[in-house]
């Protein structure tokens, strides 16, 4: 389409990135991945489950998508850095979605630990995708530290509250030196479209798809929403006006 998202020299087939967390099983995850049209899905690293039937890696392989391992559940830079190195060992990718959270209740990023981890992982040769607060200054610091993208939240993980501070997201995108991927808080398709209209280069969605009543249908909705929002952004929306402005000219009207 000539309007692709490229990260670390890799051109992705879609600006939608899908998280697999929350899916009811591998079959549901596979249906959602296929319906979403995504080329990139996140996975976590966890202890071997002796009762697991199949692996999410088989699903990823069958769908022909790339892996973005995350550091979900890490509370410190040191823990996240080791998790990223483990993921590189396990999956042979230097890409990592860096999550360093501050507490379990909000799952909000810990900015101090996050920046420290990002700096170290960039130095270690990782392509870092940091999940961050919707803070324009922190986003700039992460980009300056060498992160490949920045991923501000719309609202806390899993809340489906959408983009609580669109102004901040716009501030981040207008000054961005790297692609901005809206991550977390998306509830439905219009939220994803709004993210793109605000100038985001992509959207990462997990719960909104995997926990929807029909995940595959929501994945398809997100696919179109991201594309529609992107097209609208590129098209250039009209300015907001206080008063009406007729689209039909008054000139030439009959005297009746």
């Amino acid at each position: 389409m000539g309007d692709d998202l490229t990260v670390d020299g890799v051109t992705l087939p879609s600006r939608l990135i899908l998280g697999t967390g929350g899916a009811s099983g591998h079959a549901a995850a596979e249906a959602a991945i296929r319906a979403s049209g995504t080329g990139l899905v996140t996975v976590a690293l966890r202890r071997v489950d002796p009762n697991a039937a199949g692996s999410i890696l088989d699903v990823v392989e069958r769908c022909g998508v790339r892996l973005l391992p995350n550091t979900a559940g890490c509370f410190t830079a040191s823990q996240a850095i080791r998790t990223a190195h483990l993921a590189r060992e396990a999956f042979g990718t230097t890409w990592v979605k860096l999550e360093v959270i501050g507490d379990e209740r909000t799952l909000l990023p810990d900015p101090v630990e996050l920046l420290a981890a990002a700096e170290k992982l960039v130095a270690d040769g990782f392509t870092v995708w940091p999940y961050t607060n919707d803070d324009p200054i922190l986003a700039r610091r992460l980009a300056d530290a060498g992160c490949a993208v920045v991923m501000p939240l719309g609202s806390p993980i899993g809340t489906g509250l959408g983009i609580r501070n669109p102004h901040n997201i716009a501030l981040i995108t207008e000054n961005a030196t790297v692609p901005v991927i809206l991550d977390a808080g998306i509830g439905t398709a219009s939220d994803a479209a709004l993210a793109m209209e605000l100038g985001c280069a992509g959207v990462l969605v997990a719960s909104a798809v995997t926990r929807a009543a029909d995940p595959a249908a929501m994945a398809e909705a997100m696919r179109h929403a991201v594309r529609a929002g992107r097209l609208a952004r590129l098209a250039g929306r009209i300015a907001r006006r206080h008063h009406a402005e007729a689209s039909t000219a008054f000139e030439g009207m009959a005297e009746l």
């Binding site: 996975v43 966890r46 202890r47 071997v48 999410i56 979900a72 483990l86």
Partner: protein, 65 residues
């Protein structure tokens, strides 16, 4: 010899290696990462012999956002 594998005590043969524990823990060797006492063990070092009370984490991909 006693070690802790994924948070559970386990008795293993003396002179067991990281690779031995991986084989006993996971049905496949693909997509696995190992930490020994909190530190990453690259695949090239899986021949490392374990010691009494070592903590081994054997990790795989799971669904996650």
């Amino acid at each position: 010899m006693h070690v802790i594998v994924n948070g559970r005590a386990r008795e293993i043969a003396p002179e067991s290696t990281v690779a031995d524990v991986v084989r006993q823990t996971s049905p496949e060797e693909r997509g696995i990462a190992v930490a020994l006492n909190g530190e990453v063990v690259p695949r090239a070092d899986w021949a490392t012999a374990l010691r009494e009370a070592d903590r081994v984490e054997v990790l795989v991909a799971s669904q996650g956002g």
